[in-house]
Symmetry: C2
Subunit: 356 residues, 2 copies
C-alpha cells in the first residue's frame, strides 16, 4: 500500500513519474540502452535537456530575456553564485533574513561583498515574514527567500521596487502563479516541486549579467552555462530526466494555476483542522503561513505525542516530524501530495480529539 | 537484446546495477517508499551514505587521513576547489598539460593563483603523456590528470616527489591498484567507473587542509563537507545510491585488483587487433596507451568508414565514434564492459579485413 510521504525534501513524487523513471533506468525510449548509460551528447539526451528547458519556460510563462539552467550543487551553491554574478565589485546588496536558509545565503554573500540585511524575524524564531522595510535604491539586488520549510512561512506578496529581485524559491516554485519575469534571478533545489535531488533549477535574466567586473570561475558563471545550454560539463542526467517527467505530469494536471488551486484546497483543509481542533496549534503568524509546509504543535505533547505518533504511522503516513530546531510537526504538502493524503492526516487529528 | 555501449561517459553499467536502481525508484528496501522521495536525513539514506564512503575506503585501501566525499558539480567544479583548498595565497602550484581536461583545470586554477605548467603535449595533439619534467620543490602541489578520454592516453607511472600530488582520476579510478594514500587529493566524476552522472567522488588528505589562508565559500570548502559527512546540503540521492550498488558489484567481482586483470585482458585484445589489422592504426604513443579508452583510426576512411560503421551497428555496438576534435573511433572499455563486448568489436574488425 502506497504511503503518504509528507517529507520536506526530498519529497513525494507522482506515482506515474516514479514508474516512468524506473523504466528508463532499464531502457530509455525502447533504445536498448539505460537512461543512465547514454552519452549526454547523444541525440536522446539533448532532446531531454531541450524539452526540459522549454517546458519550464512554458509553465512559468518566461520571456525571452530569461534563460533556464539546470545546474548542480543545490541552492547552497547558488548562495554563492548569486552575489558572484550580480554584486558588482565594491558595491552592495540587500537581503531579508526570513529563515535559516535566508541566513545561510547571507553568510555566503558576506564573503563576496557588502551585504545590507534590511529586516530579520530571527528574534521571533522566524515565525513571520519581515515586511515594511525600506529598500535602498543603491543596492545591486534584493535577495528574498519565498518559502521557509523549517518554520512554515511563505511570502504571499513581493515588494514593488526598481531594484533587481533575486529569490530562492526552492520550496514553493511551481506551486502558484507569479510574474516570474520580474525577477533577475530565481533558483531552486529540485527536490520539492521540481523533481528528485541532484539538480538545481536556475532562471536568470541574461540581460543583467556580465556587469560585476569579476573574472568568474567557469562553473560559477551563469554566462558560461547559458552559452553551453547547461552542458558546460556532464549534467546530472537522471535528475534532469525525472524533472522532465514531473514537469510533464504538472502540465497534464493543468499546469501551475491548477496546481495552485489544489494546493490552496489542501492547505485550507489542514490549517482549518489545526485551528479548529483544540489539541493543536499552528507554529507561525497566520498571515504568513506556507501553503507548502504546514507546521503545528500538539498542545499537550507529554500526554498525547506517543498516541498521535502511533495513530498517523498506522495510517500509512510518514515524514511529519518537525525540523530539529522547531519540534512539533511539519506536513509538507507539495504539488505531488494528493488531497487524499491531507484528508488522511486530518482524519487522524480528528480521531485523536475524539479518543484523547 | 542488450547492446554493447562503448560510450566515454556516461557509460555502461552492470545489468544488475541497473535492475537494482530501477527497483529502488519504485520501492527502497521494501519500505513502501521510493529511493528518490525519502529524506536525506532518514535512517535509510544515512546508511546508504555511510556504506558508500566506507566501501570506497575499503576498495581503495585508504588510510585514516583520507576522507571520502560525495559532492556535486563534476570534475569541473574540482578544477576550482583544488586550488582554493590547496594553493596558499601568494604561492604557486605546478600542472601537467596532458589533455583537454588538464588544460581546462589549468585555466580555472590560473584564476586563483600562480600556475607553473611544467610540461605539455599539446603540440602533438596530446597523443603522449609528458614525462621527465623537473618538479620545483616550492610549489604547493603538482596537479596531474591520470587518464585522457579524448586521446586515449593514461599515466602508467606517477612521479616520486615530496610535493603533494593532486590528481583528476575521473576516467581511470577504480580500474587498477595504486597507492592512493600518497595523493593529497583525488577527484573523479562518477560517470565512468564509479556510477551514474550527478555525483563527484573526492578523496582528500584532511591533514593537509586549512593552510591556504583563504576564507572559503562553504560549498567550495572540503573541510565543511568533511565536518558534515557529505551532507552539508541535500546530496544527489539517486547518484550516490547507484554508486553504492556499483561499488558492491565491483567488490563482488573481486575488487580493484581483479578489475585491473580483466581490464588488461580487454585492452590487450583490442590494441592487439588495432596493431595487427592492416586496416587500422592507433591514435597515440604505445607506451602511454589508455586501458580505458582505446582510440584508433581507419587507415582508409573514405573507402571503408561507411561499411565499418554499418557492420558494428549491426553487431549491437554503440558509442564508438571518436571525440569531435580527434575523429576516428574510441572504444571506452571501463570496468563494466564485458570481455564479450570487446570480442564482438574485434570480430567486426577482423570481418572488415576479410571482406574489404
Amino acid at each position: 500500500m502506497k504511503k503518504f510521504n509528507f517529507s520536506a525534501g526530498p519529497s513525494t513524487l507522482p506515482e506515474e513519474v516514479l514508474q516512468q523513471a524506473s523504466e528508463a533506468i532499464l531502457d530509455l525510449n525502447k533504445s536498448g540502452l539505460s537512461l543512465i548509460e547514454i552519452s549526454h551528447r547523444s541525440k536522446d539526451f539533448i532532446a531531454i535537456m531541450d524539452e526540459s528547458r522549454a517546458l519550464v519556460k512554458k509553465l512559468m510563462k518566461l520571456d525571452d530575456d530569461h534563460e533556464v539552467l539546470f545546474l548542480q550543487g543545490g541552492a547552497s551553491l547558488q548562495f554563492l553564485m548569486a552575489p558572484l554574478n550580480f554584486l558588482k565589485k565594491g558595491s552592495k546588496a540587500a537581503y531579508i533574513d526570513s529563515g535559516n536558509f535566508a541566513s545561510a545565503s547571507i553568510k555566503e554573500a558576506k564573503k563576496i561583498g557588502f551585504i545590507d540585511v534590511l529586516a530579520s524575524s530571527k528574534e521571533a524564531n522566524y515565525t513571520y515574514i519581515p515586511k515594511n522595510y525600506e529598500i535602498p535604491l543603491d543596492v545591486d539586488y534584493l535577495h528574498l527567500t519565498s518559502n521557509n520549510t523549517v518554520y512554515g512561512t511563505e511570502m504571499h506578496d513581493f515588494p514593488e521596487t526598481s531594484v533587481p529581485l533575486v529569490c530562492d524559491m526552492s520550496s514553493d516554485i511551481l506551486s502558484k502563479e507569479l510574474n516570474f519575469n520580474k525577477f533577475a534571478l530565481i533558483y531552486a533545489g529540485a527536490q520539492k516541486n521540481i523533481g528528485p535531488a541532484g539538480v538545481t533549477l536556475v532562471i536568470v535574466n541574461k540581460t543583467l549579467l556580465g556587469k560585476t567586473g569579476r573574472d568568474l570561475p567557469s562553473y560559477l558563471d551563469y554566462q558560461v552555462h547559458i552559452s553551453k545550454e547547461s552542458m558546460a560539463n556532464t549534467p546530472p542526467v537522471f535528475a534532469i530526466y525525472t524533472t522532465l517527467l514531473n514537469l510533464k505530469w504538472l502540465e497534464k494536471q493543468g499546469g501551475v494555476s491548477a496546481a495552485a488551486e489544489r494546493n490552496k484546497i489542501k492547505a485550507d483543509l489542514l490549517y482549518g483542522e489545526v485551528d479548529r481542533n483544540p489539541l493543536f496549534r499552528g507554529v507561525c503568524e497566520k498571515v504568513d503561513r506556507s501553503l507548502m509546509n504546514v507546521c503545528f504543535f500538539l498542545n499537550d505533547e507529554e500526554k498525547l505525542k506517543e498516541k498521535f505518533d502511533k495513530m498517523w504511522k498506522d495510517s500509512n503516513i510518514v515524514g511529519i516530524g518537525g525540523y530539529r530546531s522547531v519540534g512539533g510537526y511539519r506536513a509538507s504538502i507539495y504539488n505531488a501530495m494528493p488531497l487524499e493524503g491531507v484528508q488522511t492526516l486530518v482524519n487522524v487529528m480528528k480521531e485523536l480529539e475524539k479518543t484523547a
